[in-house]
């Protein structure tokens, strides 16, 4: 008999459950969409799960403002501090393991065991990224031996505000695998959740809100990717965009977004992943990093 957790244990006879409301996460708060719209989220079996907020372009605009406002503080924190905050997120995630497993299972179906495996992989993935915060500069930076009496060194720096389209088909592990690499180095993000499986993303936002992550570092929009993404791709105050959630979308959405992104030369991240459980390597972190090189003379 597959492992059942408490949420699937039958409620006391006659007890009605309190259902969660799923809202957006912007600037550290949970507002509804300014458009007042929502959309139906159905589970693996086709049944009604919840109404999620249907984000508008104005919500996207507000999210970018919040992300930009949070950038100086987050990128200015020490790498140690960011690592600590991210590790704290993992602690809270672990505590909600059963809740996430249930949400994942309701969304994509499958066994309890598979759902728990996905959640465990997501938490471990998060911890992996948390440990990168205070090592990136050592692996991606260093002194350059220039020919002259100069001290020359190169350092990685976060690029700024990153728009992230979360993978369509992997509601937690995939989400974590595109979100964590962007923020570990100091970027702030606006995430567009998987259109079909948005609920675990909102629950993740609850975890972020209770884990010392400053408001605005991560902002979450739920809704129609094809409606929202173009506004982020063309936004002149967004520095990079990860197209994971548009890869494999119908039509040429990913291409259109990349073309729009060229207007302010955003860094465009197109890294298809077939197996989210595989160790990701440095690519996604590097994709949202700039490199700064500094010269200084040596002399009396």
């Amino acid at each position: 008999m597959p492992e059942a957790d408490e949420s699937t244990v039958a409620a006391q006879a006659g007890r009605i459950a309190i259902r969660k409301t799923y809202k957006l996460y912007i600037g550290g708060a949970f507002p509804r969409s300014e458009s007042g719209r929502s959309f139906e989220v159905t589970g693996a079996g086709g049944g009604f799960l919840a109404n999620a907020a249907l984000a508008s372009r104005k919500d996207a605009r507000d999210a970018v403002v919040a992300a930009r406002k949070a950038f100086p503080g987050w990128s200015g924190a020490t790498a140690y501090n960011r690592g600590q905050v991210l590790y704290r997120v993992a602690e809270v995630l672990e505590g909600r393991r059963a809740q996430f497993a249930e949400e994942v299972r309701q969304a994509v179906g499958g066994s309890h065991k598979a759902a728990f495996a996905e959640v465990d992989a997501a938490v471990d993935r998060w911890v992996w990224y948390a440990g990168w915060s205070d090592k990136l500069a050592q692996v991606r930076g260093g002194a350059n031996p220039v020919a002259g009496p100069y001290f020359n060194f190169s350092l990685p720096e976060p690029t700024g505000v990153v728009a992230v389209l979360a993978p369509a088909g992997s509601p937690l592990l995939g989400l974590v695998s595109v979100l964590a690499p962007a923020i570990v180095s100091g970027n702030t993000v606006v995430v567009v959740a998987s259109e079909k499986y948005p609920l675990p993303a909102v629950t993740l936002a609850e975890v972020l809100a209770t884990s010392d992550v400053p408001g605005g570092v991560v902002n979450l929009l739920t809704g129609r990717v094809a409606e929202i993404a173009p506004w982020l791709a063309s936004h002149m105050d967004v520095n990079a965009i990860d197209l994971a959630g548009a890869l494999g979308a119908p039509g040429a959405l990913a291409d259109d977004l990349a073309v729009a992104a060229a207007e302010n030369l955003k860094r465009v991240v197109r890294l298809p992943v077939s197996d989210w459980t595989a160790e990701p390597g440095l690519d996604r972190m590097i994709a949202t990093l700039e490199t700064k090189t500094v010269w200084h003379p040596l002399g009396v």
Binding site: A79, Y80, G83, Q84, Y87, D124, V127, W128, A130, G131, W132, S133, D134, K135, Q138, V139, F151, L282, H296, P297, L298, G299, V300
Partner: protein, 487 residues
């Protein structure tokens, strides 16, 4: 108006001292061959009885470490090893106050330092290295560097918990198991750390703590079951160990003594330079291998800097280490106090001029007032030998080239300080100073991400940072005088 600070003691109640402590072997506390006492150097009261590990006990510990290595630790994925280190880091943070008070009681250092420096840095070392455990392939040593095996570690009494963290965290992160011998006069925080390992559910035998004296350390270093030795302590003992390893072929890293030059130029930011001088030699009562024990001040600003230094030393508060306002605590032992006294007498005998801060010294315990010697020359013993106490030797120089010459004129090479507002001069000095750590417009700053270690007779190998992992991995060129050992 006189503003006296009333006593502000940190409460001892948070620490539960046992009457006696055993050895931590194979995950539990066991008895050993004999016992000895550890005292508080501030009051000379006996704190506890501690077990002395004899050769058989060391043998048991190494066997436990070997078994844990082979059956559990070396086969565990790095990702899971890292989680234990994260747990340990967290528990250190949770029990931070308790650790700080215990460290102050056993070592004599001010509670402000153990609370604000030692314990937070120890936690940070575990955090930092926890994250490396599953990323060793990115550290620059090839795609899958291997661990070495069982590591023997001998640490000094000046930063007992922090030195333990510097040793244990990278060793474990790299997949090794550990037998660690704390210093004879400061075993207690290591034993509390053993309890933390239990709370973290660390697999038995991964960390073993064998308390004892020099003989215990020798037994550990000589044990054939040890693959690698890490030693922090005196240069004299370091050389003995190096001789032994030259024959046995064990891997070795050493972090030894120093006689660092703190160089102050005429365009230094004076007030901060004076803070740096004071911090450099009086922090931790001068019991710091990288202490700025030689002040090299540019002759043109000698009078101003010395006047400011004496004035600043007049505000140093020496006394009860548990008082939150104490700046200078107790000397760690009578033996160390005697050593300091001997060298200070030599300074006077050789003609240097002594000046001590006017602090009253408590009756019981081991104390030495912050002291400076002026009119010191390179030939004086107090300019050449490590005093390891709150005693500063002041020399002068005229030009940057002369500063380099004098700063490097020592068999040691652990650290150096440079004070000037001119960036190019900082980098020029840094490129020429033969020292492993160079502090510019600051001093005594440590971070788990920053490699620390010396040139010349200050030792070899680095601790901290990506470079520090090398000592605990089976990679060619891992620092040891004898060359890479066979696998």
């Amino acid at each position: 108006m006189r503003f006296e600070y009333a006593p502000a003691p940190e409460s001892r109640a948070i620490v539960t001292l046992r009457d006696s402590y055993g050895l931590f072997i194979g995950g539990s506390f066991t008895g050993g061959s004999s016992v000895f006492k550890t005292i508080s150097p501030a009051s000379e009261e006996v704190l506890a009885e501690v077990t002395h590990a004899g050769p058989e006990d060391v043998d048991r510990a190494v066997a436990a470490a070997r078994q844990a290595y082979e059956r559990t630790w070396s086969v565990m994925p790095g990702r899971e090893r890292g989680k234990y280190l994260f747990r340990i880091a967290r528990i250190i943070q949770e029990r931070a106050r308790e650790l700080a008070v215990l460290e102050t009681l056993d070592n004599g250092k001010p509670i402000r330092e153990s609370r604000d420096v030692d314990v937070p840095l120890a936690a940070a070392h575990f955090f930092y290295h926890a994250g490396w455990a599953d990323k060793l392939g990115y550290a620059g040593f090839g795609p899958s560097p291997r661990s070495l095996g069982v590591v023997g570690q001998v640490i000094p009494w000046n930063f007992p918990l922090l030195m333990l963290a510097w040793k244990v965290a990278p060793a474990l992160a790299c997949g090794n198991t550990v037998v660690l011998k704390p210093a004879e006069t400061t075993p207690l925080t290591a034993l509390l750390f053993a309890e933390i390992c239990q709370q973290a559910d660390l697999p038995p035998g991964v960390v073993n703590i064998v308390t004892g004296d020099g003989a215990t350390g020798q037994a550990l270093v000589a044990h054939p079951g040890i693959d690698k030795i890490a030693f922090t302590g005196s240069t004299e003992v370091g050389k003995e160990i190096a001789r032994a390893c030259a024959v046995s072929g064990k891997r070795l890293t050493l972090e030894l003594g120093g006689k660092a030059a703190n160089v102050v130029f005429d365009d230094a930011p004076v007030d901060q330079a004076v803070e740096g001088i004071v911090n450099g030699i009086f922090f931790n009562q001068g019991h710091v291998c990288c202490a700025g024990s030689r002040l090299l001040v540019q002759e043109s600003v000698y009078d101003d800097v010395l006047a400011a230094l004496r004035r600043r030393m007049g505000t140093l508060r020496l006394g009860d280490p548990l008082d939150k306002n104490t700046d200078v605590g107790a000397i760690n032992s009578r033996a160390q106090l005697d050593k300091i006294g001997e060298l200070v007498s030599s300074g006077e005998a050789e003609g240097a001029a002594r000046w001590s801060a006017p602090c009253p010294l408590p009756d019981r315990g081991f104390w030495f007032a912050p002291t400076i010697f002026t009119e010191v020359s390179q030939a004086h013993r107090i300019a050449r030998e490590e005093i390891f106490g709150p005693v500063l030797s002041v020399l002068t120089f005229r030009t940057p080239a002369e500063a380099i010459e004098k700063a490097n004129n020592t068999p040691y090479g652990l650290s150096a300080g440079v004070w000037t507002e001119k960036g190019s001069l900082i980098l020029w000095m840094a490129s020429r100073l033969r020292a492993g750590v160079i502090w510019a417009n600051t001093f005594n700053r440590f971070d788990p991400a920053s490699p620390f270690g010396g040139y010349k007779e200050s030792g070899f190998g680095r601790e901290g940072g990506r470079h520090g992992l090398e000592a605990y991995l089976d990679v060619a060129g891992s620092a040891d005088a004898a060359g890479s050992a066979d696998a």
